[in-house]
Symmetry: C2
Subunit: 213 residues, 2 copies
């Protein structure tokens, strides 16, 4: 995935080659015009936060992050005024991946297949990055970049739903926000047990069948 190597640092497993460019070869807005020491601090903060998140700890204590990143707390707050902002920066790569997948899903010839593809990918992305799940569970974005991405995601979902509805594949009273919430619910159900993603296919089947007309 070309989208994982911007400044959000890598997620668990990925080796963390931090390139200052996104897939379009531009510096992300949030890192543009940063003094080099500031950029470095920002990366360190994100790296530390990512480490904590991959632990499964979603609380992201600012003081702890500052300590692990080797910066003052104030620096963390300067770069990320709220925990939400930090979370959005951490998950930007995952969100970009999901947005791209949703776009592809919306282009799938068979609308039912497109919906299935969308839901599967959304679940998998949230399982892979709990930060993504966290920001999607509360859909008011703080950062301009993620706001744009979220809007694009919403449009793709709406497109898929419209097409699936038109061909009678799904019930008519479900909108894109319902999908967001239901996917969040299934994700929650998947996490609420020992074997995290082991039941993904089964629960996904339940959701897909449940959405049928």
């Amino acid at each position: 995935m070309a989208y994982s190597n911007h400044d959000g640092v890598g997620r668990k497993g990925t080796a963390g080659v931090v390139a200052p460019q996104n897939a379009k070869g531009q510096l992300p807005d949030s890192s543009r015009h940063l003094r080099s020491d500031a950029a470095r601090n920002r990366r360190q903060v994100l790296r530390a936060a990512r480490g904590l998140l991959d632990t499964g700890d979603t609380t992201l204590p600012m003081n702890l992050i500052a300590r692990q990143a080797g910066v003052g707390v104030g620096t963390v707050y300067r770069h990320f005024p709220t925990r939400r902002a930090l979370l959005e920066a951490l998950s930007q790569g995952s969100l970009e991946t999901l947005v791209e997948e949703a776009r592809l899903a919306a282009e799938t010839p068979d609308p039912a297949k497109g919906l299935e593809r969308l839901l599967h990918c959304a679940l998998q992305c949230q399982l892979d990055d709990i930060g993504l799940a966290t920001i999607l569970s509360e859909p008011d974005f703080e950062c301009p970049e993620t706001l744009v991405l979220g809007a694009e995601l919403g449009r793709s979902v709406t497109t898929i739903l419209d097409r699936a509805r038109t061909c009678g594949a799904i019930r008519t009273d479900i909108d894109s926000d319902d999908i967001r919430r239901l996917i969040g619910g299934v994700h929650h159900a998947l996490r609420a047990g020992a074997s995290q993603g082991a039941h993904l296919d089964r629960y996904l089947q339940v959701l897909l069948k449940g959405l049928q007309r």
Copy 2:
């Protein structure tokens, strides 16, 4: 509901007439053999905690509870060694209600109707008491009383599933723990939006249809 007036104090709305007996006319185990001042402190702690929980705040800060209850922190810890224990005591009444409803659901002649009744009630109970939702999302109970109730609930759910499976009403690869997780997921989905329970019927329909063979 006869089960709401034990020592768990009332939930939101209920006027909080605290009777020291449960529906069977016995003192709950946790309040038996308590010195009268201890019993009073326990009630005060539960009352304060319930107030916080009804705010929607599920964090239940022990120090704050102690302050609001007018007792020392140590007293809170003495009665409730962990937050989980406190949560279980708070939700015992709701759990009893749900257990009773599940028993009735298991006796419903039509297994499909029984399942529908069970799921509807489980969702409604969790919407009514977020404490119940919290303890059910992590099914290892600490208090003997709630442990027993949880086991009984599990048996009813299993009974309902067995009967529904036998008559071909539902898929064969869903067990009672799946139901617990999926209900928790739908509950989560319902909370993830402005209008809390407004979509209950719709999401419940999705789940019920999804569970069909």
